[in-house]
Structure formats: structure tokens, C-alpha cells
Symmetry: C2
Subunit: 98 residues, 2 copies
DNA sequence: TCATAATATTTGAATATTATAATATTCAAA
DNA sequence: TTTGAATATTATAATATTCAAATATTATGA
């Protein structure tokens, strides 16, 4: 086992987990697991400010959790890797029972 | 869908994810997925201070991610739910490739 | 009881994260 | 080429997290 490498991987995993570890961002990932959403659709669903949502989307995109495409003035976001939902599902199973 | 309830669950899931989202804590969970460890064993493995490790263990225990048993002066920790390892494995698959 | 080993807690300074308000950018239609 | 709609960025105040040093607790053996 290469300890240097392993510890880098742990740090990366931790950073990515931390990025997901926010209620609004979990909800965004949950919604995007069904279909793509525009920013304004997310605003309506989540009832949060435009600025806040845009910043959360940006964090998720930086970590390659989401990708986006622009269509005229709108920007649509979707999951980069659909398996991301597995992580949320498992998280709920582990932490949201009882 | 009960939105109040759902948002509570998201917050709980986010809190638990946040608790896991630290390199040292991920490493602790990884080690404990093999067998139980005493605090001093973890100190040796992780090369962190006693205080720091004890604090991290305490956070993980608060969220019911770990349990502990005392044997004389030593305290042994183990995973509360072995499936916790699945979460780490999946996290690595999703975030630590390429 | 006293000394010591193992672990836990408290404290405080450094750093990171969050939400909001204000401003900037990007694009399309007029 | 200006206007307005949609989104992004910046700045910043409030809050949370982290780490290590100091101190406290708990259990054992002399």
C-alpha cells in the first residue's frame, strides 16, 4: 500500500463527500437524478435564492458531480455520473432509518 | 411527499455525510471496517495526536457511526453498521477514479 | 491511598463554510 | 445597440470546523 497516494485519495474522497454534505445540495442531486433542471426550475423547487443556488451548483460542478449545458439564456444541469444517486440512496439507508 | 419530513431527513443525511467527510475520519472508518481498534492503535496507525483522534472518534460516535467498549483502561472502537464500508467503497469508486 | 496509563474534555486561535446583497455577465429579441 | 431575462460572481458578516495544548477522568496495580 502506497501511503502517500492513499492519503491523497482519502483527501479527495473527503472533499467530494463534503461537497455533497449539504441539505440543499443533496436535494439538488436528488432532483437531478430524475432529469435535468434549469436553474430557475431549481429555484422554484427549492425555494432558495438565485445566488445561493447558483453557488451550490458551481461547487457541485467544480467537483465534477454535475455538468451543465446552456440553451439560450437558460442553463440546464444534470448529474455527471448517474451512480451518484446510489450514494444518496445508501446514505439515506444508513442514516435515515429508525 | 411530506416536505417537512423530507427536508429533516435531508438535513440528517447531510450532517452524517459531513461527519464522514474528513480524511482522518474516513481512514478510521476504513481501518475499523477490518476489525476493532483501541485508541492507541489508531494513534499509531494514523500518526495524529491523542486529542485529535479522540475528538474524531467522539464525533463519529455521536452520529452512531461507531460504537465502543471499554476494557480496563483501553477503549475499543468498531463500526456500528458494517455497511458503512459500502459508503466508502462507493465514494472511492465515484470520486477516486481517473 | 497513590502513581500511572489510557482516554476524554475543554479551550482558543486559525481556517473554512454559509447566506445574502450587490454587481456583473451572457444571450436573444426588439 | 439597447433592453430584459437568466445566470454567475464578488464581497462580507455570521457561523462552524479543525487542531493542539492543557487539563480532567477513569481504571489498574503497587
Amino acid at each position: 500500500m502506497n501511503n502517500e497516494h492513499n492519503s491523497e485519495r482519502l483527501e479527495k474522497a473527503a472533499r467530494c463527500l463534503r461537497t455533497m454534505a449539504h441539505p440543499l445540495r443533496l436535494m439538488i442531486i436528488h432532483l437531478l437524478s430524475q432529469r435535468e433542471y434549469s436553474v430557475q426550475e431549481l429555484e422554484k423547487e427549492l425555494g432558495a435564492s438565485q445566488s445561493s443556488i447558483s453557488q451550490h451548483l458551481s461547487l457541485l460542478k467544480d467537483k465534477d458531480i454535475l455538468t451543465s449545458r446552456r440553451s439560450a439564456q437558460q442553463v440546464f444541469y444534470r448529474l455527471h455520473n448517474p451512480r451518484m444517486l446510489d450514494l444518496i440512496t445508501l446514505t439515506r439507508e444508513l442514516f435515515c432509518r429508525d
